[in-house]
């Protein structure tokens, strides 16, 4: 049952801020049509709303507004050192959406952005052109769903479908879609491409219930990954971040059993394994935003990144890798930091 406070909040995207110039894009019209009752407010630049002073990330997260804008620079970024490259040489990422539907207490987005509102960049074609420019120089491995969960917004954006269609025609491009979403209907509507990889972040239900607010349960994620594999789509499983919680061996051990009971290791292209890690500035902001056992942990600063200390790290990784090797060949396992 929703509390009186929750009932008093506007529903998600009750307000849509539209950057001047963005209204002409078909993506904008599609999104606006999906939310016909929202108040529309014209803005000059998305940062006028997204980067205002005095915002409360926590308050906005409970009733986020949507900002539709045109991305003019930094269309593609080089892959960050804290991210898993899966051994790919030319590793990049792009952000079609800033911020996420879900509310994971350990998520770096709350340390990265001062706003809980969501920005959707409607000029996907411009990002495509930038990728084509890069492809003239070398193959590209591109992650498209880091600063959001693109699949969770697919019903009203269609961005994932566009990316899959784009990848299908470019053999030198490999795209990874990281998600916790389990909307099998959306997945079935996305065209199949061998160079388009669905990568599910998997967590034990105990962690999902406590820390990954609004995300589908493990069973639903497993079902979605299984359905994608059955359609011969490329899938990855991401056990990242592994969290140091009481009885982590029991919870993660059960999770591995559940997953590999349902999904054949032969259907999995790769697995990513990594413990929680975060930049110092993000962690500082996250701790200001909310009190959470996960982020309050006394981390060690190792090579400019906050991480569990070496002993704990080794304990978690040794456990996870030993268990995973029982299910899948070690060549398919990628560990962050290796």
């Amino acid at each position: 049952m929703r509390s009186l406070e929750e009932q008093s909040l506007n529903k998600f995207f009750s307000h849509i801020y539209i950057e001047k110039g963005a209204e002409a894009y078909p993506e904008t019209q599609r999104i606006i049509n999906f939310f016909p009752d929202s108040n529309k407010v014209e803005i000059s630049h998305y940062k006028d709303v997204f980067c205002r002073k005095g915002q409360s990330w926590a308050a906005q997260k409970r009733s986020p507004s949507l900002i539709l804008a045109v991305k003019r620079d930094n269309l593609i970024y080089p892959g960050a050192a804290v991210c898993q490259s899966f051994g790919e040489e030319h590793f990049f990422y792009t952000s079609s959406i800033m911020n996420c539907f879900y509310d994971c207490e350990y998520c770096y987005l709350q340390g990265m952005y001062s706003s809980g509102n969501m920005v959707i960049f409607v000029n996907t074609e411009d990002i495509f052109r930038e990728v084509d420019r890069l492809l003239l120089k070398h193959p590209v491995y591109l992650c498209i769903s880091y600063d959001t969960d693109l699949l969770a917004a697919e019903r009203f954006t269609g961005i994932v479908s566009k990316w899959a269609g784009f990848a299908l025609q470019r053999r030198e491009l490999k795209v990874e879609l990281r998600t916790k979403n389990a909307d099998i209907k959306s997945i079935k509507n996305i065209c199949k491409a061998d160079n388009f990889i669905f990568a599910w972040t998997m967590s034990p239900d105990e962690i999902i219930k406590k820390y990954e607010h609004g995300t589908p349960p493990l069973k639903a994620r497993v079902e979605a990954a299984k359905a994608a594999a059955a359609e011969k789509r490329k899938i990855r499983l991401c056990f990242d971040p592994l969290l140091y919680i009481k009885d982590f061996e029991k919870y993660y051990g059960n999770m591995f059993d559940i997953i590999f009971r349902e999904i054949s290791a032969d259907d999995v292209e790769g697995i990513s394994v990594g413990t929680f890690r975060i930049s110092p500035s993000y962690l500082k902001n996250m701790r200001k935003q909310r009190l959470c056992e996960l982020t309050a942990f006394p981390f060690a600063l190792i090579d400019g990144v906050y991480n569990y200390d070496r002993e704990i790290n080794a304990k978690i990784l040794d456990f996870a890798l030993n268990r995973l090797k029982g299910y899948i060949s070690k060549e398919k396992i990628f560990t962050w930091g290796d």
Binding site: N10, V41, R52, G54, Q55, A59, Q60, E293, A296, P298
Partner: protein, 281 residues
């Protein structure tokens, strides 16, 4: 606390009566009326005048009782409207406020449900006549100044600009009596909504009780920690309390069990590392 600002006394009168606000004689540069939950001040007419009054008032308040992230600011007043499709007396919450002189635009967050209309407002430094009014939808003479001032003290989701349409660009007929009557007829619904949402602010939890805070300070002195280590220690105790629901018994228990005495900063650092290990394992 709810802080209300009206440009004129005639805009404030019905609110003062409804909320049973009493004149607060502590302030001599602005007229202030208050009860235990609401403080209303008369900001004066004009963008600049209202911004200066508000800044002066909030600075005084903030020195005495710091304004918190869950305090609320509300500007209530009348405005002109460029569209005859809207009715005199309609209540608007402004979702976009533009300063008519600088062209700068501000966006209060509207995260709470309401039954009022919403619209964009432009604040001009002078009275707007009919011909000029076509540049804006709603227009007044204070909101942008009050926004700039209030945004230094309040979170943007806790700032509300509520305007009642008084005219269509013919300000001559807008007498103090008319303003008073327009607001009086609507003050109950406005106040009811404000009082309701004022209960819902995101309050930042303070994890430690006053007694625990005092214990931490004693404990930090006991371990003879450096300033950097003190920061780390507070973080460790926060983690311990979130994890176990308490930290004092854990820390005291560790000290007593191991018979710890600290005679130097170096020894304190070693002992503290042992405590850290004990807490995270």
């Amino acid at each position: 606390m709810i802080y209300m600002a009206c440009a004129l006394y005639c805009e404030a009168e019905s609110l003062i009566n409804l909320l049973n606000l009493k004149k607060d004689k502590e302030f001599n540069r602005v007229q202030v009326f208050s009860n235990e939950n609401v403080t209303l001040f008369i900001a004066g007419v004009g963008v600049l005048a209202s911004a200066i009054s508000a800044s002066d008032f909030f600075a005084c308040i903030d020195c005495k009782n710091p304004i918190t992230d869950w305090d609320i600011f509300v500007n209530i007043g009348v405005c002109g409207c460029a569209k005859y499709t809207e009715n005199i007396g309609d209540i608007f919450i402004c979702n976009k406020i533009t300063d008519g002189t600088s062209g700068k635009t501000y966006y209060p967050d509207i995260i709470y449900r309401h039954t009022f209309k919403e619209g964009e407002l432009v604040s001009f430094p002078h009275i707007i006549d009919k011909a000029f009014s076509e540049k804006a939808f709603l227009y007044d003479m204070e909101a942008s100044g009050l926004y700039v001032s209030a945004s230094r003290f309040f979170k943007v989701h806790n700032m509300f600009f509520i305007k009642i349409v008084s005219d269509y660009g013919v300000p001559e007929g807008v007498t103090p009596e008319k303003i008073k009557s327009l607001i009086a007829a609507r003050s109950e619904s406005i106040c009811e909504w404000i009082l309701k949402i004022s209960k819902y602010g995101v309050k930042k939890d303070c994890i430690f009780t006053e007694e625990e805070k005092a214990y931490i300070e004693q404990n930090l002195a006991f371990f003879k920690l450096s300033e950097t280590m003190k920061y780390e220690a507070r973080q460790l105790y926060t983690y311990c309390k979130l994890k176990k629901g308490e930290f004092k018994e854990t820390v005291t228990g560790f000290i007593e069990k191991n018979g710890i005495k600290v005679s130097s900063r170096k020894e304190g650092k070693v002992r503290f590392e042992e405590l850290r290990r004990a807490i995270i394992e």
